[in-house]
């Protein structure tokens, strides 16, 4: 309520200001539309390409729309190249990684924001210090570790290193820090222990942040490349990006139709998630970004 009241005058003022200039704004719309075409164009080209036959790519001049749209590329993807398996691998890894982050990160976030315990400052410092560590630095030691544990080419090998991450702790701690202590104090007076307070008071308030964290973690895992590239050496453990990159740089280099179909399979689930949850994604990024 207060937020709405505080905001509405600003909207009116800027609305009026924009209104006086509206006559001059058509060219901005035009430029933005040209820009959007450039942004969406490659996706369209990908989709159209995935529906073309291999023969059509050899026609000169090249066609824009497919002459005879075919689902043949997708059929080959699913029948000859085991894409259902890669899709399953990517989904399984992303789902478990997301659950791990959404569960373990807010637990530590809560302990850092609202509890007093020895070692807290050390853990806080460690988490913050690793927030921006490049993925490449842990790649080789993790590979050596997994090789010694016999976990190369297994699901645990793909999942374990990503089950928790500093970003989730940072995100949840920042939010939980803002929850009034009086709320927790009241629950304590009612006899609730810290675990009960965590599950019944803190978590329900944190749901929007957890949604953002969950979506971003899922997307990050789905698109992750260098790590599964190293850890999945047998085709049956490939995730979608590894499979696509392997085919694109190997035997199927010029099989444009199939590569475009593979890209569609990799991109479309993410686009659906994005369209459904775009508010959480863009706002989550904006707020966490600015507090970084």
């Amino acid at each position: 309520m207060t937020a709405t009241q505080a905001r509405s005058p600003a909207i009116t003022i800027s609305g009026v200001a924009a209104g006086t200039r509206r006559t001059g704004s058509w060219w901005i719309y035009l430029l933005l539309i040209v820009g959007i075409l450039l942004m969406v164009g490659p996706f369209l080209w990908m989709l159209l390409g995935s529906l073309k036959t291999q023969g059509e790519f050899l026609v000169s001049p090249p066609t824009f729309l497919p002459n005879a749209p075919t689902t043949g590329n997708y059929e080959r993807l699913f029948n000859e190249l085991d894409f259902p398996r890669f899709f399953f691998n990517s989904s399984l890894v992303a789902i478990i990684v997301t659950v791990g982050n959404v569960l373990f990160c807010p637990m530590l976030g809560f302990a850092l924001a609202k509890l007093q315990w020895r070692g807290k400052r050390l853990i806080m410092g460690l988490v913050l210090a690793t927030l921006m560590v490049p993925a490449g630095i842990t790649l080789i030691p993790n590979f050596v570790l997994m090789a010694n544990l016999g976990l190369v080419n297994t699901y645990p090998g793909l999942i374990l290193p990503f089950l928790v991450g500093p970003f989730g702790v940072f995100l949840t701690r920042q939010f939980m820090y803002g929850i009034p202590d009086e709320l927790l104090e009241a629950a304590r007076i009612d006899g609730a222990n810290e675990w009960r307070i965590f599950w019944q008071v803190v978590i329900p308030l944190t749901i929007p942040v957890l949604a953002t964290l969950g979506i971003l973690t899922f997307l990050g895992s789905w698109n992750n490349f260098i790590y599964p590239l190293v850890m999945a050496q047998e085709p049956e453990m490939y995730t979608l990006p590894v499979a696509l990159a392997t085919f694109a740089t190997g035997d199927h280099q010029s099989d444009h139709g199939m590569l475009m179909a593979g890209s569609v399979v990799l991109v479309v689930p993410v686009l659906i998630i994005f369209i459904l949850f775009q508010r959480w994604i863009t706002e989550g990024i904006a707020t966490t970004g600015l507090k970084g």
Binding site: A10, I13, G15, A17, A18, Y29, L32, M39, V40, P42, F43, M46, P62, F64, G100, F104, C105, M107, A111, L115, Q116, W117, R118, G119, I123, L126, T130, M132, P134, G136, I137, T138, I140, P141, V144, L145, A147, N148, L163, V169, L184, R188, N223, I226, V230, P241, L244, A245, A248, T249, M260, L271, I273, F274, Q278, T282, T287, G289, L290, G292
Partner: protein
Amino acid sequence: MTAPALVRRDVAGRKAGPVAPRHGWRQDLIGWSFAAPFVILFGIFLALPILASFVLSFTSFGLRDLENPIGSTVVGVQNYVDLIADPKFWKSLGNTVYFVVVGVPLTLALGLVIANALSRGITRFRTAFRVGYYLPVITSIVAIAVVWRFLLNPDVGLINMLIQSVGINGPNWLADPTLAMPSIITMAIWRNLGFAMVVFIAGMQAIPAVLYEAASIDGAGRWQSFRYVTLPMLRPAILFMLVITTIGYLQLFEEPFVMTDGGPLDATLSVTMYMYQQGFEFFHQGYASAIAYVLFVIVAIVAFLQFKFLREET
């Protein structure tokens, strides 16, 4: 706030922690029970590997050591000495710096222009535009690189097809040593400008409308209010994006891996790509760890500068 006398303060006068019970083993136990799952996984798979990577960089660790990591030969700073004398490493570092120095400012500038157009230039379809420009950010770089390689294909690609239609024969973008990196930079800008845009839009929403009102009363036009209100108010957001994007771009890998394999003539070989080649194609993992650590130090310096600047800003 209503009862300041009740706010506990520690010796230094700072506000003490909010929880009533004082320190004790019970509190420690509760705290650690929440922290344990994270700390264990984090320790094994993130903190320890960062240290292990450092140790590995002083060994000649290779494929045969995989079974018995402890038995690998310590070679001291030899890997780093070799690195300094390795022209391919310097080439990869030069390429990465080229990618960052050209790519980061252009990504941020375009993101800023579009954010400003969406926040101050138009009043309708804002969400649709925002979604459209943000779209590539969330998609897999591998998929995007595969699609762009196809777009840039000299024989069957859309870009040369369009160039052809005005009567010019387009170049073979990714096979030309001078054009390959600019092509990859263009793709990176295309993919990442939406991220900068979203952060800048959020920053712009926090700028009080009164400032623009005052500027407009003083006779400021569109450009002047951008120059003297938006830009100064957005400084922290711009600085933040500068660092985040630089750190991201320093890790360039997928694009050259899929599009050029580091070629032609190593023109797109990045530091991470060289590390990957050394570590997983030639299995010189000690040497690869040294490469990774050099990159780590560069990233740490950038992150440290951000911390310093942001501290001074706010």
